[in-house]
């Protein structure tokens, strides 16, 4: 019996070894987050199949991730402060630490050496060695006179081993230059104060030039031009989104869901059933496209010819597709109950859509709008493909 067992063990070990030896790239790999069960699936987009499930990753509601410079490893940021490093090729958890009580997202530095995590509790940013996950620096988000710590939102990387993030409670934007961090130096912080009330999320444009924070408590956004010294924040888009009679907002829009296409930004209106179009040079609104619900993600296909939009509860069963040149909605799809996220393949011929309450991910052909594949998944939320490493701010 034991002998049969040990033969079996050897057999499986060999089989696993053989799989690891099989040469393959990571360019068509990705991860689906299963938010309720604390697990992820590693998937491939060439044949649209699931390759592995990894469990025991903690609270993954609102989890996001970023990839290593060689696109071999994923760094997963859990809600419970967990930071997990996952090997996309051996399909194994390499290391997991719990670095805070409650966290919201993370970023990798431009050179791939540092991982930064933004925390709600204790409010601030912690920085780790991307190789070992050893702590490198902690930035408490202190504000005011009594040393209160602010929740952090909108953490992104910026060129020059910098991280930019926003203090929700303080209404500030901080730029942390981590050039010296790996040699034991402290991050050099530039603080921009009074950027506006309740900034709820932020993004950096793909060129790394502009950092934009959405303001919940005010009718507008805050913009920092990272190419201009000294750094300053300026108000743009007064009147952005909220309008005179804002509807209640049941889900915070994600600014990561903003996109630039054809010299314009397409972005979710806050509290209104519209996608706003803003001139990418002047930051003036040029149009508002009536949509099915309050947009959550407004995402351009990589060729920027189409923009795909999903919506907030209770209208979250639908996806609409905007044709960029005409600004018209050309397609409406009903993937099912609770569409949470969309991710394009690198050249955009496929889009993967997570449908939480139907426990599946649906893959569509973005040209014909036909379903290509359906993958079972447990309460899927975020979908993240490895091409993200190559993009500033993702």
């Amino acid at each position: 019996m034991t002998r049969v067992f040990s033969i079996l063990v050897v057999f499986f070990a060999l089989a696993a070894g053989a799989r690891a030896q099989e040469l393959r790239g990571t360019g068509d790999l990705g991860i689906i987050v299963e938010r309720a069960s604390g697990s992820i699936q590693i998937v491939e987009t060439t044949g649209q199949t699931a390759l592995a499930r990894i469990e025991g990753l903690g609270d993954l509601s609102h989890a996001s991730l970023t990839y290593s410079r060689d696109q071999r490893f994923a760094y997963l940021f859990g809600r419970d402060g967990g930071l997990s490093k996952i090997d996309m090729l051996t399909r194994k958890l390499v290391k997991r630490i719990v670095q805070a009580g409650n966290s919201i997202g993370g970023a990798i530095s431009d050179d791939g050496r540092l991982i930064a995590v933004s925390n709600y509790k204790p409010g601030g940013v912690r920085i780790f060695d991307a190789d070992t996950l050893a702590p490198v620096a902690t930035i408490p988000a202190e504000y005011g006179d009594n040393g209160a710590l602010s929740k952090i939102v909108g953490l992104v990387d910026a060129p020059g081993r910098r991280f930019v993030f926003t203090l929700y409670d303080a209404g500030e934007i901080w730029v942390a230059d981590c050039t010296a961090c790996l040699e034991g130096g402290k991050p050099a912080i530039t603080r921009l104060k009074d950027i506006g009330r309740q900034p709820y999320d932020a993004l950096i444009t793909a060129t790394g030039q502009y950092y934009l924070a959405g303001l919940f408590g005010e009718d507008g956004m805050s913009l920092v031009d990272l190419w201009k010294k000294p750094l300053r924040s300026r108000r743009i888009l007064d009147g952005y989104g909220r309008g005179e009679k804002p509807l209640p907002v049941y889900k915070m829009p994600h600014l990561e869901g903003w996109t630039r296409a054809n010299g314009q930004f397409f972005l979710p209106a806050v509290g209104r059933h519209e996608v706003l179009v803003v001139d990418a040079r002047t930051f003036k609104q040029t149009a508002a496209i009536p949509a099915y619900g309050q947009p959550v993600f407004v995402m351009a296909r990589p060729d920027q010819r189409q923009v795909w939009v999903n919506f907030a509860y209770p209208l979250n069963d639908t996806v609409q597709v905007i044709d960029v040149p005409s600004g018209k909605i050309i397609k409406e799809l009903k993937p099912g109950k609770a569409v949470l996220h969309m991710e394009f393949t690198p050249r955009g011929e496929q889009v993967w859509i997570s449908v939480r309450d139907e426990n599946r991910v649906i893959v569509y052909d973005t040209r014909t709008f036909e379903k290509i594949a359906t993958l079972p998944a447990q309460s899927p939320s975020g979908i993240f493909f490895t091409w993200r490493y190559a993009r500033i701010g993702l």
């Binding site: 938010r35 309720a36 609270d59 509601s61 609102h62 809600r79 419970d80 409650n102 919201i104 709600y120 509790k121 929740k151 939102v153 929700y168 309740q198 709820y200 919940f216 408590g217 209640p248 907002v249 049941y250 889900k251 915070m252 509860y313 209770p314 609770a338 939480r356 309450d357």
Partner: protein, 103 residues
């Protein structure tokens, strides 16, 4: 302002609520975890919105909580839910939050 909204909610509360069906309760349970959870964390340990665990809510009565859920907290991202759920629904949510959601 916030007190006033609460007061208004309390005054408007009807005497008794109809019992909810089990199906409705299951829907509301999922609403709380998924949709309240999008701001308060799926396990309600807090996100952009504060934690909603029994210890955190001990200082509110069920009526206060029902009012907050229906009317939201003006000036903050906490939205009013009255366009989507009934007072009986909100009261059930308030009671379940005070008790703690089942696992």
């Amino acid at each position: 302002m916030r007190k006033l909204a609460l007061l208004a909610a309390i005054v408007a509360l009807p005497a008794a609520a109809q019992p909810l069906s089990d199906g409705r309760k299951a829907e509301l349970d999922s609403l709380v975890r998924q949709d309240c959870g999008s701001c308060h964390g799926m396990t309600l340990k807090g996100g952009l919105g504060r934690p909603l665990l029994p210890g955190d809510l001990a200082r509110y009565s069920t009526r206060d909580l029902t009012g907050i859920i229906l009317d939201g907290i003006p000036g903050t991202p906490m939205p009013p839910w009255k366009a989507l759920i009934s007072r009986a629904d909100a009261e059930w949510i308030a009671r379940s939050l005070k008790k703690g959601l089942e696992k």
